[in-house]
Symmetry: C2
């Protein structure tokens, strides 16, 4: 039994296809097939059921695959140890970010980070929280930035900052004359929301006390971008809520429509999340340091109330 064989097994288990698994493993299909067979011979069990399409993992196979994941993970931890000892920060590092954080936060730290750690090949993926979690679990992401708390067993969370919700209320709106907002003032039915799947949407719904009539609005337009929401609001279609960092880029005419919440302002907790196995932890720490340092200047709210990003 070799680590390579276990890696091949993992690839097949993932893609359910020897040919594809071989490609992803950068070997030819016969090579991969033979190694998997060899392991199966050695253990004297079938890991895969080639009879089915797509290929199925046998019952024993599932257990073996789970354990193989363990082993391969622990093995890659060795290079981690060495890197840490050498103070080397480098290699591929895949970071996921949720869509509502991406456009504002990424430009703030990306340049600084790649300048400070030129040997890290940072790969950024924009994904929903749900995808992020799945990809962290099976090792496709080294870390991610998302709204927390998620309270997931295998994930560790390191808060980066607390970002208040800010109301965008056109003059003509029911709340147009309010100086500041309170959560009680909100009514889901006239708050413009992001598309389903965005956790900021769930956060806003959680914030609004009585989500009684979701889906009962007069119209059903949900957008994936805050820009659309703001423009809709300007067309008297209702109000909306924005994360604080998104309000910084509004032009003067629009920023007049911003209304902050009374303290404690509702806010989302934005964290760096990663697998509890803490692979590549040095890079994760480096990333956290960079982001924290930058954000500390741009955003400093104390009295906030964290709104859960999870739909109930």
């Amino acid at each position: 039994m070799t680590i390579t064989q276990l890696q091949y097994v993992l690839a097949v288990a993932e893609y359910r296809n020897f040919t594809l698994a071989a490609q992803k493993s950068f070997v030819t299909q016969p090579t991969l097939s033979m190694q998997v067979q060899k392991l199966e011979d050695e253990l004297d069990v079938l890991i895969f059921d080639r009879g089915k399409k797509p290929i199925a993992v046998t019952e024993v196979g599932k257990k073996i695959v789970a354990q193989a994941k363990n082993i391969v993970n622990e093995a890659s931890r060795i290079t981690d140890i060495v890197d840490q000892e050498k103070g080397f920060i480098g290699g591929d590092y895949t970071l996921g970010i949720i869509p509502t954080i991406m456009p504002t936060l990424l430009p703030m730290f990306l340049k600084t980070f790649i300048k400070k750690y030129p040997k890290v090949n940072l790969i950024i993926r924009e994904q929903s929280t749900e995808s992020l979690i799945r990809n962290i679990q099976d090792g496709h992401l080294d870390a991610a930035i998302a709204a927390t708390p998620l309270e997931i067993e295998f994930i560790k969370e390191r808060p980066l900052y607390y970002e208040p919700f800010v109301g965008y209320v056109p003059k003509s709106h029911r709340l147009g004359d309010f100086k500041t907002l309170s959560p009680e003032d909100l009514d889901v039915s006239d708050v413009l929301l992001l598309q389903d799947g965005h956790c900021f949407r769930d956060g806003v719904i959680n914030l609004c006390k009585a989500p009684k009539e979701i889906g009962k609005e007069h119209f059903q337009l949900q957008s994936g971008s805050f820009e659309t929401l703001v423009n809709l609001a300007d067309e008297d279609m209702g109000m909306t809520l924005l994360p604080y960092l998104n309000t910084l880029e509004l032009d003067k005419s629009k920023s007049q429509n911003l209304k902050y919440f009374n303290n404690p302002s509702p806010a989302r907790e934005v964290s760096l999340i990663y697998h509890k196995s803490e692979l590549k932890i040095q890079i994760t720490e480096a990333l956290r340091d960079v982001i924290s340092a930058i954000v500390r200047g741009a955003i400093a709210f104390q009295d906030v109330k964290i709104i859960s990003p999870i739909s109930k």
Copy 2:
């Protein structure tokens, strides 16, 4: 990096000697040397400091060795999974037993076990609790039978039975006329003890309320066998305490001197202990089943008070 290389590293770390490590790994010394070097090259760090005699493990090396242990352990878990699936119970299995349990318990279950599981090659070692713990930690023992609770982080305990302490008191002794004993009756200074290192000794000392004057006895003879203690007691050198199973083999004249404790009788908890990683757990479970079944007939005390086997 291969699992084999990691195994070689572990061997060198253990024996601090390439030649010996090679022998124990059943390869020649150059083979082992080269593989270790290859791993060091690949990681670009020195794991061992060959300058010192005996060979020292570098700082990084220690971390790598620790992680390598992990990986090798997890890897051998794969065959475990397969064995379990096949219902196969076999292979080498090394069991440690403390001296005060060995002579009475081993004959009770050994024959039954090897008959029921002929494919298991059972290797028995008699060792002090201290050694057992150490050997379980570094994988030289698959399990052990000892007095518990030990409360050690990496060890799991599965109680087998509760064995009461029984007094052996000659007629002429201060307590010779008592029908039954109470812990308060005991005085360390006239209880004959086993040698230092036996946990039964520590248990007895814990039982005696006031261990004030240890070492102040008139004489300092401590034996490694209960037989000696009984014979000394017959010579009016004091009384002694025996584990229940040891009292069964006394001849009639001696067994008249036995005095049981009032309920709840002090007792030792005897457990099967093993590493929390649960390697070879099927064999461990099989062993536990066999012993439990046999002991259930021979020993059945309900109202006991467990005495800690750890010296305070």
